[in-house]
Amino acid sequence: MGFPISTPIVKPVDGLCNLSCTYCYTAGLKSSADKKYMSEQTLASVIDFFCYDKKYTEFIWHGGEPLLASIGFYHKVVEYQRTWRNRGVKIVNFVQTNATLVTEKWAQFFSDNEFLVGVSIDGHEETHNCNRHYSSNTGSFADTMRGVKLLREAGVFNGAICGISKSNVSSPREVLDFFISQGIKKLKFARIKDIGLCKDVSDISISFAQYIDFLISVFDLWIEYDDPKIEVRDIQSVVNILMGGTLRECIYMGQCDQFVTVYRDGTIYACDSLPKDESLYFGNVFNDPTKVRNNDRLKASQEIARVRHALCQSCNWYSVCKSGCAKDHYMKLDSSSPIPEHCRELKRYFKHISTKLGHYGLV
């Protein structure tokens, strides 16, 4: 497990994006982006801040649409990181993109510099285009899949994140079959919900119970299809944990202060799944990293996590759940007890998987 404020989710263009997805949770950042990108000075400080005291570090380039920062920006990323690589720091770069802007040049750059690229795809064309489209409402599926093809040919495609909404929650087999038919077998599913920064998503958002129904169905399909190359992130993690392994998805790690969001101006906040709230502002990349990692707001959030753990430890599923995700399972940022419905549904999910593993004598 990484130490606090050690893995940055970097938004070089904040929420700026060439798409206008229905459920975008960075919509609130978009209007403030002014189409300005992270300055070279700030970028250099970002790299230094997260490399200086590490032997291994990861950068997650995110957005909005991170490719809007231009390929020249990422050449600078590589250039500044080279200083630290030459000092023995192992650095891995991940990008999460809508892939619509991917060209052969981008794909070659990613390959040459060993970036791993994840793409957001919401299933087959009709479902994907329902919510993932340009501001003209033209769907992005064709452009996304063209980009995926180029990334795969370059050997840098690293899986898909698929939003689960009312459009596809009732069709788990159809969703899974689509990805398998495309040869995309590394998957993460994300529940579409309102996290406070979205446009109105009430027409498409789903309940946590519906999402758990979906995951349980996908787990059953995963067993049915019996293809070890199919990796569904959440399911992989729960299965691994129940078998005594250590492959914890971040939502089951019990702490999330390892991950922080770094905005265009170099400010550092908690994981961007949480609201960009003052209580979660930890400093900026021009500050002394030691002081940032010991700031009072971080300590306050760690104390909240500690209280949550204490309340959850008597639960039979605590060893799996570790008190759950701060963004998903608590009503407010400082709530001590999880939302009862979420607890109930998570237990149902874990029990379903555990029961199946028990049939094979695995737990």
Binding site: V92, D226, N240, S273, G361
Partner: protein, 46 residues
């Protein structure tokens, strides 16, 4: 209870991975990401 001889490949694979992690004494560092796909454990297997 179904016997281990009938264990689905996906569970055999998962079991092997979990046992390897325990044997190596691996920490869960980098085990999860809030957004993009993970690295390390899975990416290194490609």
């Amino acid at each position: 209870m179904e016997s281990s001889a009938q264990l689905p490949n996906v569970l055999l694979s998962a079991k092997t991975e979990a046992e390897r992690q325990v044997a190596e004494g691996r920490d869960s560092c980098g085990g999860g990401k809030p957004g993009p796909w993970d690295q390390g454990h899975w990416a290194n297997r490609k």
